[in-house]
């Protein structure tokens, strides 16, 4: 169950390619990152994946079959693939959390009992079971974002696309979202994240694509993708701070903050050891 994109090109108007002959294979990782600055084509890509836009040329395979755009095919696609957009205010329609999460479930005719169960599960997954009977307008922006994610979780999609999941969130809310993504991945949901937050992507994605003006300029395991700094800068992005530090201090590049500190503590012991040794020798 996954996407494979071959030679996808999408054009909004003449002479302006939003996506230029793109190839992707989402079986290469469990949490996949797509990074790029504004206007790089990230959203257009997601729209194509959801069947909202129709490729100008090339094709998108889902589950080894080419995506078709008739009503029934789209229905089946969207039962397996869910998306959470950046702004939660535009995807929460009801004034009560419960009703809102139930929206899609009720539309496809799931019975109320199952819906109730699913909503409880979903809210637990986003650590928001206490929102269940709260009106939406009492929730903070970050909490609304979690409700939006819960309504996708309740659909039990196999793939979830997240568009800028942490944009505009404060540190606590960001951490909560990261936890949710990790939990999703643990439950075998494939997560595809589009973002221009390099630290987020570096932290949680195992495979990353870099988009620059509609072209994929780099792809690979996340720890390898950021080696070529020029390409990153050229794409209007920046290095994750961890990579920057490691690079500038001539350390090996660590994927994880803790590894850096561990390495450092070992190294320092070593140096201390050497220094001590050297002092011993001198004296």
């Amino acid at each position: 169950m996954m996407f494979k994109i071959s030679n996808l090109t999408y054009q909004y108007e003449k002479n302006k390619l939003a996506l230029n002959n793109i190839n992707m294979d989402f079986s290469k990782g469990n949490v996949i990152g797509v990074i790029g600055s504004n206007g790089s084509g990230k959203s257009t890509l997601f729209m194509n994946l959801m069947g909202i836009l129709k490729p100008t040329s090339g094709e998108i395979l889902f589950d080894e079959k080419k995506i078709k755009h008739d009503k029934k095919s789209l229905y089946n696609l969207r039962k397996d693939v869910g998306i959470v957009f950046q702004d939660p205010e535009k995807q929460i329609f009801y004034s009560m959390v419960y009703d809102d999460i139930a929206f899609a479930l009720r539309n496809i005719g799931i019975n109320e009992e199952t819906i109730k169960e699913r909503i409880h599960e979903a809210l637990e997954a986003v650590n928001g079971i206490d929102f269940i009977n709260r009106p939406i307008h009492f929730l903070s922006y970050g909490q609304k974002k979690r409700v939006a994610i819960a309504s996708v979780i309740a659909m039990k999609n196999k793939i979830v696309l997240l568009d800028e999941p942490t944009a505009g969130l404060d540190p606590i809310s960001t951490r909560l979202i990261i936890d949710i993504i990790k939990k999703l991945s643990k439950n075998n949901v494939k997560v595809i994240i589009s973002s221009h937050d390099m630290n987020l992507i570096y932290d949680i994605c195992d495979y990353t694509y870099i988009l620059n003006k509609g072209n994929i300029v780099e792809e690979g395991l996340t720890e390898e993708v950021f080696i070529n700094e020029d390409k990153i800068i050229d794409a209007g992005l920046e290095l994750p701070w961890l990579v920057k530090v490691c690079k500038n201090m001539n350390f090996p590049i660590f994927k994880n903050e803790r590894d850096l500190y561990k390495y450092w503590n070992e190294k320092i012991e070593n140096v201390e050891f050497i220094r001590k040794k050297s002092i011993e020798k001198v004296t």
Partner: protein, 230 residues
């Protein structure tokens, strides 16, 4: 987002004096209204189309696409005028009868229809010339010169700005509803549309409150000044 608006800002005549553009368009528009002559109409349509496509450089395909909707529209709505029902078949040049009624076309109805088509098309292309080459922000100064009430001008100016905000909101909300199966049948569609408009309305009221704060901070004195470079 709105195609005509996009062309108005990007066409090759965008920087031409709007007074001249609108005067030319309006004069020929008036002429086509006053003189019902099929040759004049055809001439107007051709002239305007040539200006739009070759001078303003609006892509021919897009221009035809823009014309297609009103043309089918005219052709369809004209049928009612074209077809006559009468008890007397002599009034009609071609007819079929049902019971004691004859349905068909008369000399006069054909004549009227040709005039309607001619006038509509020439008027349409004149107006297209104006709206495809003149951005709304230039039109507003013309409204001002025409001494249209300040309130109406200020409101139009603000409405124009807000239309784009709302269009984007509606598109985004509708899209996320669609992806959550909000439009799979008639019942869900109505429910979804209701929710959409409700959400739009609520967001509008919040927006109003926040905009009032912005107005205070920007020292709003009760007037939205419209100042053109004279």
């Amino acid at each position: 987002m709105i195609e005509i608006d996009k062309y108005a800002y990007t066409n090759e005549l965008r920087d031409m004096n709007p007074n001249i553009k609108v005067s030319i368009g309006a004069a020929i528009l008036l002429l086509s209204m006053l003189i019902s002559n099929i040759i004049l109409s055809i001439g107007t349509v051709l002239l305007m189309s040539v200006i739009i496509v070759f001078i303003a450089k609006i892509d021919l395909k897009s221009y035809i696409k823009l014309l297609k909707i009103p043309i089918t529209f005219i052709l369809l709505s004209i049928i009612v005028t074209l077809i006559n029902i009468s008890k007397d078949p002599k009034l009609l040049i071609y007819s079929v009868n049902i019971g004691n009624l004859y349905i068909g076309v008369s000399d006069q109805s054909i004549n009227t229809c040709i005039h309607i088509i001619g006038r509509s098309m020439s008027c349409l292309t004149c107006v297209y010339f104006i709206i495809l080459t003149t951005p709304f922000n230039q039109l507003i100064f013309i409204f001002k010169k025409l001494h249209i009430s300040d309130t109406v001008i200020e409101l139009s100016m603000l409405i124009y700005r807000f239309i784009f905000i709302f269009m984007e909101e509606v598109a985004d909300i509708r899209q996320s509803q669609e992806l959550r199966f909000g439009y799979i049948n008639l019942k869900t569609s109505y429910k979804s549309l209701g929710l959409l408009v409700n959400l739009l309305y609520k967001r509008m009221m919040i927006r109003y409150e926040e905009m009032c704060i912005s107005l205070d901070v920007k020292l709003y004195d009760g007037t939205f000044y419209i100042v053109g470079d004279e």
